[in-house]
């Protein structure tokens, strides 16, 4: 778990140091993609705690989720339903909280075992 927190910290630090500017039109894409990536990570943690983790599934899911999220935003803009990104936000948001809840429960259970 410590390694994961460290990894997140390294990512944040890299973001702070590299100072990459995101073009404004891409902000919505990246926002939804970040949400999807976060959801995938929590899903991975949950799978690890449930001992059903498969790195292939995780990596594939991580990439597909992220790209699909951005793609939904793109499609929404193309077909004139810009609010379509809200659908992705809601879906990933719900999943995020769901995974978060399960991860929390699993971690508590594991601690009670030990």
């Amino acid at each position: 778990m410590f390694v994961l927190v460290l990894a997140l910290a390294v990512g944040v630090l890299a973001g702070l140091l590299l100072r990459i500017g995101i073009p404004v039109p891409l902000l919505t894409y990246l926002g939804v993609a970040v949400l999807a990536a976060l959801d995938s990570c929590l899903g991975g943690v949950r799978a690890a705690l449930e001992r059903t983790f498969s790195d292939r599934v995780f990596v594939f899911g991580f990439i597909t989720n992220t790209l699909m999220a951005a793609f939904i935003v793109f499609v929404g803009e193309r077909i004139g339903v810009r609010e379509l990104y809200l659908a992705a936000v809601v879906a990933f948001g719900v999943r995020l909280f769901n995974n978060l809840g399960i991860v929390r429960r699993l971690m508590f259970e594991r601690r009670e075992w030990e």
Partner: protein, 261 residues
């Protein structure tokens, strides 16, 4: 018997070692699995952290400018700008109007000043402080016997003025409001300078009127030429020049509207 036991022992050892081998293999696999888990999750989290910060920074930059604003916010901004622009336009209009008013006032003042200047010039001309040019008559009087008196010239000047003469000069002396014509042993003096036996009197005014007034039967010409030797001719001139009078300081009298101050 012992051979069978030996075989059994061997197979047990074999089984045990196989189990240990299998267990150790499983443990290695488990460790490998966990390592892959950690590595993949860690990579993903590094990426997520990085993207989060980038997005965070991008969003805060965008909200600082106009690009990241929503349509409603932009509409509000446009409305504010429109109101401000309207205010500025009306202010500009007001200022333009004030400017036009000021220019008009200035023009009015200039016109007033021009009129005042013209009036002043007229007054100065009438008062004799300006030399004057214009149509008029020249009255030539010859008095070889010196029989004429100052009174006769006063009458002549008075007659000229009555006939509408605006500027009169006797010889080279402009007759103004303070001029005096006096008798002296050397002859007649106008403002102190003596006039000769023959004198020209220039009068600017309507030459026909003046001529008519002077030539009236029983008028000034008749009166003057009745004296022995005196002749008088009246000639109209299209452009006469009458010199200016000498400015005399006004010392004792005080204008009435200034008297109370």
């Amino acid at each position: 018997m012992s051979e069978g036991r030996t075989k059994e022992t061997i197979s047990r050892i074999k089984d045990g070692s196989l189990r240990v081998l299998k267990e150790s293999e499983q443990a290695v696999e488990q460790q490998f699995h966990e390592a892959r888990l950690l590595v993949s999750l860690a990579f993903a989290l590094v990426l997520v952290g990085f993207l989060l910060v980038a997005q965070w920074r991008g969003t805060s930059n965008a909200t600082a400018g106009l690009e990241g604003r929503t349509d409603q916010e932009l509409a509000l901004v446009i409305q504010e700008i429109a109101v401000a622009s309207e205010d500025l336009r009306s202010e500009a209009l007001g200022l333009e109007m004030s400017l036009a008013q000021a220019e008009q006032d200035e023009r009015g003042q200039e016109a007033l000043l021009q009129k005042a200047k013209e009036e002043l010039r007229d007054i100065r001309t009438i008062a004799g402080l300006e030399s004057a040019i214009g149509p008029g008559v020249i009255v030539r009087i010859k008095d070889p016997e010196r029989v004429l008196l100052a009174q006769d010239f006063v009458s002549l000047v008075h007659e000229l003025r009555s006939a509408g003469a605006e500027a009169i000069a006797i010889g080279a002396v402009r007759v103004d409001a303070l001029s005096g014509i006096t008798d002296s042993p050397e002859g007649i003096r106008v403002d102190g300078s003596a006039i000769g036996r023959s004198v020209e009197i220039a009068a600017i005014g309507n030459s026909a009127d003046i001529e008519q007034a002077l030539m009236l039967p029983g008028g000034i010409r008749a009166t003057l030429t009745a004296y022995p030797g005196v002749t008088m001719s009246v000639l109209p001139y299209p452009d006469l020049e009458v010199p200016e009078a000498v400015l005399r300081p006004y010392t004792l009298g005080v204008p009435v509207h200034n008297a109370g101050q």
